[in-house]
Symmetry: C2
Subunit: 386 residues, 2 copies
């Protein structure tokens, strides 16, 4: 065991000592660099940027994504749509299959001046949106495509269903097609990631071609996941890219290979509350309520458990991960127990998130770090719910 | 495929149709029966009832636990302690190892009239609490015991450490000992559960005996987990039982065998948003933000995935579980695909939680059902954070 406490890497001063733990830290410098990286890549190919705001759920973060104005953007709940509409965003895509019971809330946003496009993958949904258009208000819709068997969407080669949905939608406007390469999270290596991105692109553009050949304008061809957004060799035919988790990145994305650990902008600040020396454990006050129970790296080459353990500068401690967690307890262990540092009760650590969307949703605010990375300068509220 | 939609089991009327989904439903009749079951058992053995309020995080639920007055109770965060103190609870145990930085908030509650006892398992914590007592205020403490290697606590047979902690604590009062049989969640069968309960009891009473023999009064001997609370053959020597999840129960507890599915008082109301017929999937609008990512039944004999699927009356649909989830999507599959009912877009389902603490923490309120079980009569707020 190495005694590191004297190095001051675990005994904070100032605001990092004063804040109650566990809490969520955000490094805006890293976040800005992540945003700039994707924006520059999209500008180079002339492709639109419609980030998914489900990761951040924060007006302050969303505003940092756009040099001017508000959006366009993607949301995963109507609560997000309403919050961003209130903050001045006027062009949103609600990227979860629509149900008739949710159309009145979408319509209310339209009446207040925010266009919220919906997505659908069945004739029954198209007929419901068409019926709503005849009775109330035409809401623009995109046909969701299933490019890789991940979850929802029309098979892009099922031309009959694609055209049936498009024709039943009138008088609601058909805005275009949308897909999400969810299976790209399981791609390994640059070639596999590039292939996933190309498959996503080809699927979306092929479906758009079918619709256009049948006389539908199909102005929007939307694709995107963080792994494919950073791996595409071509974006030809795509009009916009949606990605969400890139804004913060996380250990799953680092494991996939689309970011480095030092790009991860989020961490959970935790305090040591005990030890089990016979097991080589350090107990911290960040359980699954603070970290989430997402174990997304368990299926990767190297599991990071429930998070990677860093010092107060955000530098990973070799081999230290959160092995397991209960509601308010995290169990930190070291891959090589002989290298476990001695961290006294009261020492503070930063835990990098396995899945930034899941970790962030456990918190009501971001504690925003200053330029030196070890002082909290402000807090930004997050919202949640539906 | 069976068409069940005409049966009205999935097309709600009234408040279950009007409410936005996903949302959290609470059946107070089931909850009251669960509370009564534990209370009656404890009254029969003359053992105190100090329920863990971390599951409910609701003043309304907490009040239903006590026929008269408020508490005593157990909490897992200082935010819970502050909320329940404000609601009139005056005797709380903060059952997560104390750190010096948290003592000022504990002291503030004492000054406002609420006793918050803390727990500790090391000499360094005892010295910090003693030092705080000399400088500010004596806060009562319990020594945490590790009865089964689950997580934190002093080995009850480490008499030297136990007595060392007790003697260093003065002038802060030593209230007693506390343990939690976390490993009882992995016990299978009545005999194993009874053995886990007896081990927990024996461990706590043995440590109390050691302390008393050395001249410490040790008035409190506290034990409890939901599995052991319902499996104890004897409570001799215990002064109180802590349990939390029993108030709602869940699929993990049903898998352990301490409740039936029909005792589970919580469920998530979700809406069907799509289908993948080729895979036999129904897509619902409850993802891990609504259900949590807890897969606690995966290690049991029968996995329930991320939840068991029920009709609007809360009756399980044979073989239907939530196979997987993304942020706002749940994938429902059937163990026998030929028995998958046809549920149209817009149909509503109730999902029983794998782990009630984890599911509840994803929501800001309970939608409370009326006596007939299919009408929402009120909402009860929940709180979270630290």
């Amino acid at each position: 065991m190495t005694n590191l406490s004297h190095q001051g890497l675990f005994t904070p001063a100032g605001s990092l000592a004063a804040v109650d733990t566990p809490c969520l830290l955000l490094d805006p410098q890293k976040m800005d660099a992540n945003i700039a990286r994707l924006r520059q890549s999209l500008e180079a190919t002339g492709t639109g940027f419609r980030p998914h705001l489900k990761t951040a759920k924060s007006v302050d973060v969303a505003r940092r994504m756009f040099a001017h104005g508000h959006g366009p953007a993607t949301v995963s709940t109507l609560a997000e749509a309403e919050a961003f509409a209130q903050a001045g965003f006027t062009d949103l895509t609600y990227a979860v299959g629509i149900t008739p019971c949710k159309l009145p809330r979408v319509a209310a946003l339209h009446r207040q001046g925010t266009t919220v496009s919906v997505i659908l993958d069945s004739v029954e949904q198209a007929e419901a949106v068409a019926d709503f258009a005849r009775r109330h208000l035409p809401i623009p819709a995109l046909v969701e495509l299933d490019c890789d068997g991940h979850r929802s969407g029309v098979c892009p080669d099922d031309h009959e269903l694609l055209l049936d949905i498009a024709s039943r939608l009138a008088p609601a406007p058909l805005l275009g097609v949308l897909t999400h390469a969810g299976e790209s999270y399981h791609a390994r290596g640059k070639a596999a990631l590039a292939a996933a991105a190309e498959n996503e692109r080809a699927c979306a553009t092929r479906a758009a071609h079918i619709l256009r050949a049948a006389g539908h304008a199909c102005p929007v061809v939307s694709a995107g996941s963080t792994p494919t957004a950073f791996s595409a060799q071509s974006r030809h035919g795509l009009t916009e890219v949606r990605a969400g988790v890139f804004v913060f990145f996380d250990l799953v994305q680092a494991g996939i290979g689309v970011c480095r650990h030092e790009d991860i902008a989020l961490s959970v600040l935790a305090t040591v509350i005990g030890h089990q020396p016979s097991k080589g454990w350090i107990i911290i006050d960040a359980g699954w309520t603070a970290l989430s129970a997402d174990r997304g790296t368990d299926s990767q080459e190297k599991s990071q458990g429930l998070g990677m353990v860093c010092d107060l500068n955000g530098v990973p401690l070799p081999g230290l991960t959160v092995l397991d967690a209960n509601q308010e307890h995290g169990i930190v262990a070291c891959r090589n127990p002989a290298c476990m540092p001695h961290l006294p009760v009261g020492a503070r650590l930063r835990i990098l998130p396995v899945h930034a969307c899941a970790t962030a949703t456990q918190h009501d605010r971001y504690h925003v770090l200053g330029p030196d990375g070890n002082e909290i300068t402000t807090t930004w509220p997050r919202f949640r719910g539906w």
